[in-house]
Symmetry: C4
Subunit: 231 residues, 4 copies
């Protein structure tokens, strides 16, 4: 296995540190929440992922670990990777083109993913429809569409959650040309996962999803009775 320093991972680490500073400043990665990864090898699958419990506003070069497809640390260090490492690996396996995976904890994502759940068991989908900004998600070329963002019930059991994600995404073809079947998912009252071919694309999709979450949530607070004066 190549050392971390001799691979492109040397650059991804600085890029992920910049993501941490930015996302903390924008309120999406407070405290030690969130975790980020970059795929540094496809065969065998290996990712560089944030270490467990680090403050995202001041990530150091040592606050990352390299893991294999099963989420096991494979860089010889004794650092612990993020508790949710397995989800990063699961996404990287399900989405062949994924080069980076970002997970954030924003207010709007947290609120929307937990809103109005009839049974206390958050399941289902957040539908985002009709916004021009949907075109910021990879492969979407019109506002006249919708994105159904899966919402998974939260758990601390990553094996179990990983299995649920695999179940729900079974049959989706992420290798097909054009628009991917899904661009991300929410964990209820927890946060957002999205990914991209590279870190820039994943970052852009975080930004786009956050914008859309804010629009959807704020729109719900407007009274339905007030209407435009149509012409």
């Amino acid at each position: 296995m190549p050392s971390l320093a001799s691979t492109p991972a040397a650059d991804p680490i600085d890029a992920l540190r910049a993501i941490g500073r930015e996302f903390h400043g924008r309120g999406w990665s407070l405290g030690t929440s969130s975790n980020y990864s970059v795929v540094v090898s496809r065969d065998p699958l290996e990712l560089v992922v944030t270490a467990s419990g680090k403050d995202k506003s001041s990530l150091g070069r040592d606050d990352f670990v390299r893991v294999d497809a099963g989420g096991r640390v494979c860089d010889g260090s004794d650092r612990r990777s993020s508790a949710e490492t397995l989800l990063h690996c699961t996404i990287a396996q399900l989405v062949p083109s994924a080069g980076a995976v970002l997970h954030t904890h924003s207010p709007w994502g947290t609120i929307l993913s937990g809103a109005d759940l009839p049974t206390g068991q958050p399941v289902g989908t957040l539908r985002i429809a009709g916004y021009e900004m949907l075109k910021g998600l990879e492969g979407i070329a019109t506002h006249d569409t919708h994105e159904d963002v899966p919402i998974f019930a939260n758990t601390q059991d990553m094996e179990e959650l990983s299995a649920r994600i695999r179940g729900r995404f079974a049959g989706l073809d992420f290798a097909a040309p054009g628009r991917p079947p899904v661009h991300g998912f929410l964990i209820a009252r927890h946060g957002l996962y999205t990914w991209g071919r590279d870190l820039a694309e994943a970052r852009r999709q975080i930004e786009i999803f956050e914008f859309l979450f804010e629009c959807v949530a704020r729109s719900r607070t407007l009274p339905a009775a007030r209407q435009h004066q149509p012409q």
Copy 2:
């Protein structure tokens, strides 16, 4: 045709790059959304406009193209101009004094332009009335007035949208002295267009409209039953 470097357009490009950084930071131009232009020639009409698909937080000097009145690239480059270039050209033609056109995607503009549409077909007008800040729009000298911001249904067909804009603005005299008949328009669930004699004026109007959109939208969330204690 003069080269880009030998015209005033050299400066506009740096000014538009600064606009991009600022508007991204203020949440009005996330991802690759938004597009900006400056009129660099009136006879024949030519604009410098952002190239297609660029991240507005980090526009480079090459992320712009020069287009003619029909929106065709005329600087000899093979760059593609923004998909909405034709709207910039249409505005520049309809408003003889326009020296800059700015288009942004803000949460409040997106929300208000799509709020409470009875039929799913966004048409009509957003009326903004009685605010002192209306005086920030060119030619308005009192709060005791209103601005009717046209809202156009969104589309991906710029020829069709351009024709609708021309139809709605037919008969409006943008060359008359004093207050212009319209200072901008919204595209539903999409964003705002405004313009100014120069970039500073267009930027100021973006700022003013954003303020007014926020006030109108937030005011709608306040319960009507709570009232001042009149004296």
Copy 3:
């Protein structure tokens, strides 16, 4: 009359320029809105006030004028002072201790000052009660009190508005020791005026009022039916 450069006004100008940059950044002085002044002489009364129509994010040293008690320019320049100069002079006359007057246009102040007006004629008072942060207003030493912020109907006639302010403040003793009778006022759908013995105190009161406006307005959006679990 001493020149501007040989008086303490030289420093106030830089202080007011810093206020402009800060308040623009915080969203309280967008576009050319807002105006600020410092009392530079009490006998005779003279103020340095922002010139008319200047962008508050980039005030230059020449964007100020010196005016007398009647709001007339008295520094020999041909600059025009802010349209609302007379209100600054009126406040400086009514409040003997006032060393600085700040006027801002914030979203929350604009929204609250225009909310829920039964007749379309904004009159009355905004009561702010029970907040610890009230102690940030000069002379208030307990949360167990209220501040009644006068709300004046907006107008473009400063002589008329000045007379209304004088009428409402008649009989209030701003020279009495302890808590002043009023710390500021709102103009409906327009903005806030406050003042202080110096610019630092006036700036602090803007900050405090803005906080209180936000708390009052956001509290109104919370449904009354949801309650704490009392213990």
Copy 4:
């Protein structure tokens, strides 16, 4: 008694000054509100705490005093410590592991702590349940729990409030291993107190509580009738 300069307190002061700048910028410590402390000695108990009435955006090295367990200044200076010093001392006594105490005045904390009080007498508890971000509070390892944040009625009598806090916390074992029984408390329409083994932990908990307050408050503004499309 060792001088301030020869103890670790020299560093805490700069750390607290940085906290002030940061928290002012984030809107949690406006004007002269808020106060912060670090435990610099456990036997006897001594704290360095912000002096009374200082602007938190620009704390100087002299804007702190050293106090004993009773809140009395013990550094030989004639500076006055913050009016709420006694609460810092009470917390440091009740929580043996506390190395730093932070008190902030944020909009969301102020609003939630005073929301929907049936009798005007704010008592009770704010329950925060089911959020992943709860794991940012020391010792919490799952989202599937709740934090009951005590809300105390506000007062200017710190002796009385200190006694109420002691009464409510009587019987809670803050020395037990694992999750502490309480991570902070609110004073109604006033603000938040939290603490940590060191300043970094206390700062992180402020950040986490603020996030949770925002989520709880904003969630209440969403209409309950709108629901996900469950799958």
